[in-house]
Amino acid sequence: MLKLKSPHEIKELQLCLEASETTRPCISVCAGSGCKASGADNVIASLRKELEKRNLAGTIDLKSTGCHGFCEKGPVMIVWPEKVFYNGVSQSDAKDIVASVMNGHKPVEKLLYKDPNTGERILHEHEVPFYARQQRILFGNNGKLDPKDIRDYIKVGGYHALGRVLLDFTPEQVVESVKRSGLRGRGGAGFPTGVKWEALRKSTVHPRYIVCNADEGDPGAFMDRSLLEGNPHSVIEGIIIGGYALEAKEAYVYVRAEYPLAVEHLSVAIQQAEKAGLLGDNILGTKMSFRIHLVQGAGAFVCGEETALLASIEGKVGEPNPRPPYPVQKGLWGKPTVINNVKTWASVPVIINKGADWYASIGTEKSKGTMVFSLVGKINNTGLVEVPMGITLREMIYEIGGGIPKGKQLKAIQIGGPSGGCIPASMIDLPIDYEALTQAGSMMGSGGMVVMDEDTCMVDVARYFMEFLEEESCGKCFPCREGTQRLKDILNRISQGKGAEEDLELLDDAGWMIKETSLCGLGQTAPNPVLSTLRYFRDEYEAHIRDKKCPAKVCRELIVYEIDETICDGCHACVRVCSSDAILGEKDKVHEIESAKCIKCGACIEVCQPKAVLVH
């Protein structure tokens, strides 16, 4: 691509790209990590083969796009211009898809989304209930773009906001717009972005740095990954606008090493932006010079904490430092630094393009705009969901998420990763915004939303998070290092049926102590999963302690496996899969589990067709 020499040329290029737009049909296949894991690469390969075989390579376009969000149904694709949405596509469907495009776009019926309630086939993506309630202002373009082609981004209006800012805005006006929009940090704590930027501008120290926190460590959250994979230029554009507003010359994007595809797409995007004159010296012919560096994390959850992240960029161990001084005062190499999350940066161009007032009109009084959640766990429609702030949990779970699989009962919703808490099913009408979630003992966090049903043991969930946090605690401060260990030990005891009544007091006391005395955000929020489950599910803890029973039948020490002889048909499947030789019985005769040998791994339940394996 040619180097753009002035902000005006962005618009010109966009018009030019639009004009050259062909009316050729285009099959655009989602190639995000989720769909790739479900076989998208093979689907793309066989579509290409089919097109070549039928000599249609110049007649029908084939494109790999970013994540559409509906990972459960992957691989998914859209056939343009009819916008027909296919899900669960496999290699062998390539022939039918190409044939359908050639035969006047008669859709391939079996690949259309089937509404589980009505059984009806749905033709377009936006009509699928999973998408119908969403407002996708950050993720909307993911399914349209080839993330490795900057022209695709410019064609949908990309870098337009940057051009406008360079022409019509002073740096102060950009900060003012962001402030007026009400945008709050999307990384978890929800600090007002404009206020943070303003604080940095008060400093007279140069150089200043910009950091994009893409160290998405919360288990169960993957929206930053999807955005970086699917639309990396939207993040880059936001960062450059930030560079202009904050008069910084360099930015660092810190990406988790566990996201190889995001790293690849982002580095391609940075190179393309450099070639196009959007990064480097005198960008778009102006006086502004700006560079973005990509830094890969090395696998430490604590590096999501801003001061630890800065230490990691400097090549040190990722240990946090006390605040104040805040990074806007003393950040990277002791210089003023603004750190924002991936989605926060990607929101900036939207605010510039559509206006601060438009953005502020979405959401609730104190939480503006949209929030992206990863809806996962025991839910029918897993995937990424972008909704206006203030939507209720009920709408999320039942309308967008399609309810709980296998007709099970909803028990709790875990929001905000290890720093968040579990919200019980009884509070399902809670609106989702920063304040409401904090009041309920959870937090927005980065937007991970893990749905739990009646088969999930809340003591086990608390134990799981403490195990995670104990492992990830960096060890610098005592309350977090020792406290998470003690909490985990107590929870282990309880889940083994060795808990005592006074353990519950101890959990509560120790939890609050850790919250109040830890150095950084990791420790200060670490007890939340324990405290919130204690608050809402005390009876489950008591059942483990008093009755030595796990009501959800999860905790291994408290359950026994048995085969119901009236149901067992002697098919032998369980015998074959049992790795501890604990199942007795010949083929076609009723089987029996030898309790002493059984390690309660549950493999037999997985394979038993007539459901004869019972757990007590």
Binding site: F70, P219, G220, V295, G315, V376, T382, V450, G602
Partner: protein, 173 residues
């Protein structure tokens, strides 16, 4: 302990300026090249960057990506993120460890496999998942699928030239 091929070190180091901020990227390159961080190489990095060896060691042992002992040919990362946890990942992990006769996550004696746990690779919609060699993600795992998964890589280990690595396992498991 295998012999360390030191001739690979210098070309690798030459790509970087001698600055502290390059320590982690250099260690990442070394880890990829050698599948671990050999002591001799760490000593060389310490000298070149003028960072005390104790600090190089501190960084090398702080981050999960690095290993001071050789890792296996195939690295199996079992995701233990929340979504995978509630959908049965701990049982899949136990099964993999049992099948490979490992008492806990680590490397098999024949250096064929390293089993690691990771906290979320962001494929929550397909939970439980495991990723092999950083590229091949295996979705919707069950204990029954573990045998086939291991076999796929065991066979490949015996005849490394026969299969193309990127074709390995994108197929629906």
């Amino acid at each position: 302990m295998p012999q360390v091929e030191m001739d690979k070190v210098e070309p690798l180091l030459e790509q970087y300026e001698d600055q502290r901020l390059n320590l982690i990227p250099i260690l990442q390159d070394v880890q990829e090249t050698y599948r671990y961080l050999p002591e001799l190489v760490l000593r060389r990095i310490s000298k070149k960057l003028r960072v005390p060896l104790t600090e190089v060691y501190q960084v090398a042992t702080f981050y999960r990506c690095f290993s001071l002992v050789p890792r296996g040919k195939h690295v199996i990362q079992v995701c233990l993120g929340t979504a995978c946890h509630v959908r049965g990942a701990p049982r899949v992990l136990d099964r993999i460890l049992r099948d490979l006769k490992l008492p806990h996550a680590g490397t098999t004696e024949d250096l064929q496999f390293t089993v690691e746990t990771v906290r979320c690779i962001g494929c929550c919609g397909l939970a439980p998942v495991a990723r092999v060699d950083n590229t091949n993600t295996h979705p919707h795992l069950t204990q029954a699928k573990v045998g086939g998964l291991l076999k796929k890589y065991q066979e490949k280990a015996e005849a490394p030239k026969a299969a193309k690595p990127d074709e390995a396992s994108h197929a629906k498991a």
